[in-house]
Symmetry: C2
Subunit: 295 residues, 2 copies
């Protein structure tokens, strides 16, 4: 108890509240109904097992970067990332992995120079607006579990760079990267990269295994020596794994009542810990709830 008392620093943020108090975001999630969640297809889950035994799972976004995602699926199925490694970890920016030094031959069907899938048509997306101002885009919101920025005047939409977003490393334009070198954001969402690079998904599990890696000491966070690289054991699509071994995840639908309540609570934290609700929220501080599906 003494320890708990001392820990009280911040620890009470998520403490349980008496009934009449406003619910915390986590309490709202806990009280949600199963039908408010949507399962993520097994073909959209990229499972990266590090040699250390730690697992990182990325949800792919074929609706936003179809050619890049098709490439990534082909690379995964062909075992392209066997022997690959995490070779760059830049503090407050990205962890990046791939084949780096090797010029591995590409599997059949991989498009070497994909189009610039940096944004897509807004048409066809029914976006739930965040309802808070954004420094980077005319509007931002959610669609099928994704954080999206959009411009109704131009009719475009793009996935945003938030914590755990995954994008495709590239050289200078018109090179868009073919998908072999991927990075995940591990600091404050680098939104200035939005619309300048192909975002292909986000880490839905295990981001802490990337964010807690030692930072590289070379320029841009590259590791100095190849023996500092963090080896990757395998990268597979969940759909390649035997059904019982597949990791499964679901996201809270933005069309659900629980999502609306959760977003409201994120904007207006008002449990025992919070005194002054902000009345607004940054898109990247409202990460769509994703959870494992347990059998």
């Amino acid at each position: 108890m003494r320890r708990l008392a001392a820990l009280s620093a911040l620890a009470l943020i998520a403490a349980a509240q008496p009934a009449p108090k406003p619910k915390t975001p986590s309490e709202i999630i806990a009280a949600s109904k199963p039908a408010e969640w949507a399962a993520i297809p097994a073909d959209d889950l990229l499972v990266m097992d590090l040699a250390s035994g730690k697992r990182v799972v990325v949800q792919l976004a074929p609706e936003f970067a179809p050619v890049h995602v098709a490439n990534i699926r082909r690379l995964a199925r062909a075992g392209y990332w066997q022997g690959a490694a995490i070779y760059r970890v830049q503090d407050n920016y990205v962890a990046q992995w791939g084949n780096n030094e090797s010029e591995k031959p590409l599997p059949a069907g991989v498009v070497k120079t994909p189009p610039a899938e940096y944004h897509r048509a807004l048409k066809g997306l029914r976006i739930l607006p965040l309802g808070s101002p954004d420094p980077y885009a005319p509007a931002v919101g959610f669609w099928r579990g994704w954080p999206v920025a959009y411009d109704p005047r131009r009719g475009t939409a793009n996935l945003t760079h938030c914590y755990a977003s995954v994008g495709v490393g590239r050289g200078l334009s018109p090179d868009t990267g073919m998908g072999g070198e991927l990075y995940a954001a591990i600091g404050h969402g680098p939104r200035h990269l939005d619309r300048n690079i192909a975002v292909v998904g986000r880490v839905v599990s295990g981001i802490e295994h990337l964010s807690s890696l030692p930072r590289g000491t070379e320029a841009l966070g590259f590791y100095k020596d190849r023996n500092q690289d963090v080896p990757i054991a395998s990268v597979h699509l969940a759909s390649e794994l035997a059904a019982p071994a597949r990791p499964r995840f679901e996201y809270l639908k933005e069309t659900s009542a629980s999502f609306a309540a959760w977003l409201h609570a994120r904007k207006n934290r008002k449990d025992d810990f919070y005194i002054r609700p902000a009345g607004g929220v940054d898109l990247c501080n409202a990460p769509v709830p994703v959870r494992p599906i347990t059998p």
Copy 2:
């Protein structure tokens, strides 16, 4: 060279540009004049040496939380954090340190229940506006090297929770924390904590030694076992150290021409890598340049 070519993924963001091209933020900083920088007083630098030999330096903000900062200075001078540890690391949130389990007696002069220094009067601050919309506050900007949110109507201003911001752990209000338990933000800026907790400064050097620590597996990122704690060797004010041993830092004045050019470049990245400048920036993606003063 082959390695460089393969690395080109993202690596070219900061590559040098031919003369007529717009300068990158780093090039603007490199070309700034010495008089555009202001030295940080030695009494405002809290030097935390971890037992591992790694050093974290925090700049204190007496202009925003004078009673808490006075407490922290007293605690440092009295050796309060000898035997202290980092005992909580929550992914995409905070690393927290202090004396946790012990109920160490407080040195003389420490105010046990400081006032709620969550914001201050706007009067007296000459803030350079960021000029981009903010989801949390009517306006945001910079004052003497600090990122600040403010409300001209209410006449209040507060330090914001950005990456590397340092705040005072507390229990439930009216407890404001006396300053013995501190945390640094290690993920996307938790701006919802603004105006709900005392921000006392920011890490100006060594944040990567906190952000790369193993995440705690208990609720809220607390380490499960005390032997997982990361021991702190000492915490001193730079002013306590012999002059030659003092770490010294300076920040780029927001009143300088280089700051204006740097902020413009942060909003409008337009070097060889960037194709579409955002035209705006998040306050937390414009961290005020701070650098060591080398003799």
